[in-house]
């Protein structure tokens, strides 16, 4: 196996394109090193992207926020400005693993590993994040949810990699939140995850809403009916009950040691409601 650490996007794309399927992008390595050691994969080359400036910076412009793909959880947690704008996204990334894992695990790696339970993904979907993808044919931008295909797989062409995630600066009265259910208080994988972003009208009713769920289907999913249920409404018991039902109806989970189909489906509704209450409260204060 070869190890390369290019300093430019072009050089990384060239290395990945030339090596074809045997090359892997290497960020924090918290998934990749385990997969290599357990002989689940046998890459011919690792292309470490941490020396590429564009993947390492967080840029807070007037209208747009860019989070570099190889920014770590610990670094995102220390970015007070970003935490104010997207507390849900930052909380989600900060739930990944221990402090040791936080020092290495990147937001891009968490997304690209494409685990159905990856914590960053529902939060990124809820916040309307777009991935900036570089490849042999130049750069394209795609809504994050459109890149998810199935467990472990994204719709990235050979030679493509994610450079950053791009988010619109939240309008006034916007708030986001992410919650997950795990049987312990730390160090576990989500049984259900729920990310929510809401924007409120001046009269306190809902102007925009996105709700996404993790760990309840082969990929994280947007709750498609959420806007129909929420737009123009206040957050009363009836609206919450409708949201819970829509969230549960979005689920297509598996039975495993962490939770049964029935449990996951029911908890998805509960968590979506709890998360929207937090997001709503944040929106009222923003």
């Amino acid at each position: 196996m070869r190890y390369e650490a290019p300093e430019t996007i072009e050089a990384a794309v060239a290395l990945l394109a030339a090596a074809g399927k045997t090359a892997r992008v290497f960020a924090g390595g918290t998934d990749l090193i385990i997969q290599i050691k357990e002989e689940m994969i046998e890459p011919g080359m690792l292309v470490d992207i941490k020396k590429i400036k564009e993947t390492r910076e967080v840029i807070l412009d007037d209208d747009e926020i860019r989070i570099g793909a190889s920014v770590t959880g610990a670094e995102l947690g220390e970015n007070k400005e970003l935490k104010k704008l997207f507390p849900g996204v930052v909380e989600a990334v900060q739930l990944i693993g221990s402090d040791q894992v936080q020092g290495r695990a990147t937001i891009g790696g968490n997304f690209c590993n494409a685990s159905p339970a990856a914590d960053s993904v529902p939060a990124l979907i809820a916040s309307g994040a777009k991935a900036v993808v570089a490849g042999p044919n130049g750069t394209r931008t795609a809504a994050v949810e459109d890149l998810l295909i199935k467990p472990g797989q994204l719709s990235l062409a050979p030679g493509e990699l994610i450079i950053s995630f791009c988010l619109s600066r939240p309008p006034k009265n916007t708030g986001d939140a992410y919650l997950r259910f795990i049987p312990r208080s730390e160090m576990d994988i989500a049984v259900v995850g729920a990310g929510v972003s809401v924007t409120l009208n001046p009269d306190g009713t809902c102007a925009a809403a996105r709700v996404a769920l993790g760990a309840v289907a082969p990929t994280a999913r947007l709750v498609e009916q959420a806007p129909d249920i929420l737009l123009g409404k206040e957050l009363d018991e009836r609206v919450l009950a409708e949201l819970a039902a829509a969230a549960s109806a979005t689920c297509q989970p598996i039975n495993d040691k962490r939770g049964t189909i029935k449990f996951r489906t029911s908890v998805a509704g509960v968590l979506a409601c709890r998360a929207i209450k937090i997001a709503w409260e944040r929106a009222e204060k923003n």
Partner: protein
């Protein structure tokens, strides 16, 4: 398979090594540099026994490649005491009997050291969360948490 030449600073000394692309920092330390103070528990980021500090951040040495460390500053348990004088955390672990077999201890000590550098006055809850990525299978966590809190208090006193 080709080897990579890497120049690092380990516990203040310049250390050069060569390694293969798939060798972890844990393997480089234990097998090539003979620094066996860093322990191998799981090799998958779950137990924290291999915790070292790289460029100021605690990480699992089993989830870092040697090849990516050119120019890195690495702190391991071997550099924790000053000569024969133990670091306050090491002394408090002894005083509180916070170790039995000791396999987990270097990882706990490095993690606690990193925590106290960032937060000299942690609450018990903060200590427990910071140590959540370190497993101990014989001593139990209570004595370890007490030792860390006691060391923090002593370190605050000696700097004030």
């Amino acid at each position: 398979m080709s080897k990579y030449h890497v120049t690092t600073t380990i516990n203040g000394d310049e250390v050069d090594f060569t390694c293969y692309a798939d060798q972890t920092l844990l393997e480089v330390l234990r097998e090539d540099l003979n620094m066996t103070g860093t322990k191998n528990g799981c090799g998958s980021g779950d137990c924290g026994a291999c915790t070292v500090i790289v460029n100021g951040r605690p990480v699992n040495a089993c989830l870092v490649l040697g090849a990516e460390l050119d120019g890195a500053n690495i702190e391991t348990i071997e550099g924790m005491s000053t000569g024969t004088e133990l670091h306050p955390l090491q002394q408090k672990f002894l005083d509180h009997a916070a170790l039995q077999c000791g396999i987990c201890t270097p990882g706990f000590l490095n993690m606690a050291k990193a925590l106290l550098e960032k937060n000299p006055e942690p609450t018990e809850t903060e200590v427990r969360y910071a140590l959540a990525g370190n497993l101990c299978r014989c001593t139990g966590y209570d004595k370890i948490v007490r030792a860390v809190l006691d060391a923090a208090a002593e370190m605050r006193e000696s700097t004030s």
